[in-house]
Amino acid sequence: MIAQFPSPKVQTARVTDAPLASAGPSILILRFAECLPFLLFLLLLVVSRVDWSIRAVVTAPPLIGVMFVYYWTIQRPQLTRPVFAFIIGMVIDFTCGNPIGMSALSLFVLSIGLANQRRLFLSGTFFLEWLILPIVLCVVGLFHWLVWSLVLAHLVSPAMILMQLVVTVFVYPAVAFLFSFCSRYIRYLEEERSLAGGG
């Protein structure tokens, strides 16, 4: 169920054969497409904040920010620079009632760490990506647990964070599918544009 766009080869034939062929998608469309992951992230964040009847979603919402940074740092690190990850974390902290700086710092460090280990993921499959996610989540969860314990001034029960991590692991394939749709669309536009000589 991976979204497919027309092969760039078909486009090549069309562009070279027709003398009045268009010059590919404009840079504005490409820039808009590059904003899609962030818009999708905002949509997912809003959906995760809806007061669902399912208690697990309300009390342990999935870590949308971690999923976003994890996927996009592996696939397109130029879209998730560490500073951008920090800003996304701040948005999460302000909207979700977290201690300010907690998600920002964790996503910032995560994006730097993942960018350095990107080759490991690129050579593997999605299954490997999904397999390593719990390890990454455990590190993030440990950090969140420490910060919450610091802010609430006592050692909080890790059960809720564990539940949040489990929810995130199970939700990740669906979210990754949505992100892959965006990724393929951006790649399609880029290839179209490069074949048309626009960039």
Partner: protein
């Protein structure tokens, strides 16, 4: 080896850019650490920004919850359809019982008002500031909070008490222009002064981040038993006195668990109340809300003076 000076300059510029980049990363890291410490030491500093974030998210949440609520309503309606006859019979019986209670309540309210007038008692009833809807979840694993669609434009400010038709729900913590964050009674940071309805034992209701808050700081040698009803004591100046809170359901040594009257899992409409500073102010909006629920036959102004004096 065409231009060693230019090559060296380029190398130097590259090194400087790398140092600046690394310095920026270290600065952002330290900024994150500083923000965490700040949110521990001075949480009120970020309260305003949280309120603004809630207001910004409010329209999106309202739009996002529409399909969710529609689906919930459909499922609920289908579920109820199968029990409609038995439920109707039960409701009729309850209605008859409640009619008896309503007459009793009216009589007691009248008697209470006359007695209060006789002793010139001060009135500590709260004002209704706004009626709002719960539009989203405002918490996470360690925060029990929801977002409501009323903010400073509706007169809402921080620390206002929030109740629903069953009992107290929590208090407002971050106010934005059109939305606010409501900290629920079950949150770990929630502490509410309460008293037992039958024996007037004062205690503190402390949230535990789970469904049942606990009763703490009871006077020495005082014992509460399961079934004891709890009301707000009015101490602390946030919650008006005598509002229903919940019922003691479990007592195990020093651990006393309370089942709240308000169903925090299915909150919809809530009332935001303000306890006037002078405590003598005549009741305004809330009295209207109460009169809709249990109509009072005689208006206070018709029988008493401005402060309740005959």
């Amino acid at each position: 080896m065409g231009d060693p000076t230019g090559y060296r300059r380029q190398k130097d510029i590259g090194r400087i850019i790398r140092i600046i980049r690394h310095s920026c990363l270290v600065f952002i890291f330290l900024l994150g650490v500083a923000l965490i410490v700040l949110s521990r030491v001075q949480p009120e500093l970020v309260s305003g920004v949280r309120g603004w974030a809630a207001s910004a998210a409010a329209p999106l949440l309202r739009a996002a919850e529409l399909p969710v609520r529609a689906a919930e309503r459909t499922i609920y309606s289908i579920g109820r359809y199968f029990y409609v006859h038995s439920r109707n019979k039960k409701l009729r019986r309850e209605n008859e019982e409640l009619e008896v209670w309503r007459r009793t309540a009216e009589r007691l309210a009248l008697e209470n008002r006359r007695l209060r007038g006789l002793v010139n008692a001060t009135d500590r009833r709260a004002e209704l500031v706004a009626t709002a809807r719960v539009i989203g979840s405002g918490g996470g694993p360690f925060v029990r909070a929801v977002l409501v669609d009323a903010g400073s434009e509706q007169g809402v400010t921080d620390k206002m008490a929030v109740v629903d038709q069953n009992g107290i729900v929590g208090r407002i913590v971050d106010t934005g222009p059109t939305a606010s964050r409501l900290l629920l009674v079950t949150d770990f940071a929630s502490r509410i002064p309460v008293r037992t309805a039958s024996r007037d034992i004062n205690a503190i209701l402390a949230g535990q981040n789970d469904r049942r808050p606990r009763l703490m700081f009871l006077p020495i040698n005082e014992i509460v038993r399961p079934g004891e009803r709890l009301l707000t004591s009015g101490q602390g100046g946030v919650f008006p006195p005598d509002y229903p809170v919940g019922q003691v359901v479990k007592v195990e040594g020093r651990i006393i668990e309370v089942e709240l009257y308000a169903n925090l899992d299915r909150l919809d409409f809530i009332s935001i109340l303000n306890l006037p500073d002078d405590q003598n102010g005549a009741p305004t909006g809330l009295s209207n809300v109460r009169s809709e629920r249990s109509p009072e036959p005689v208006s206070p102004d018709a029988e008493n003076g401005p402060n309740g004096t005959p």
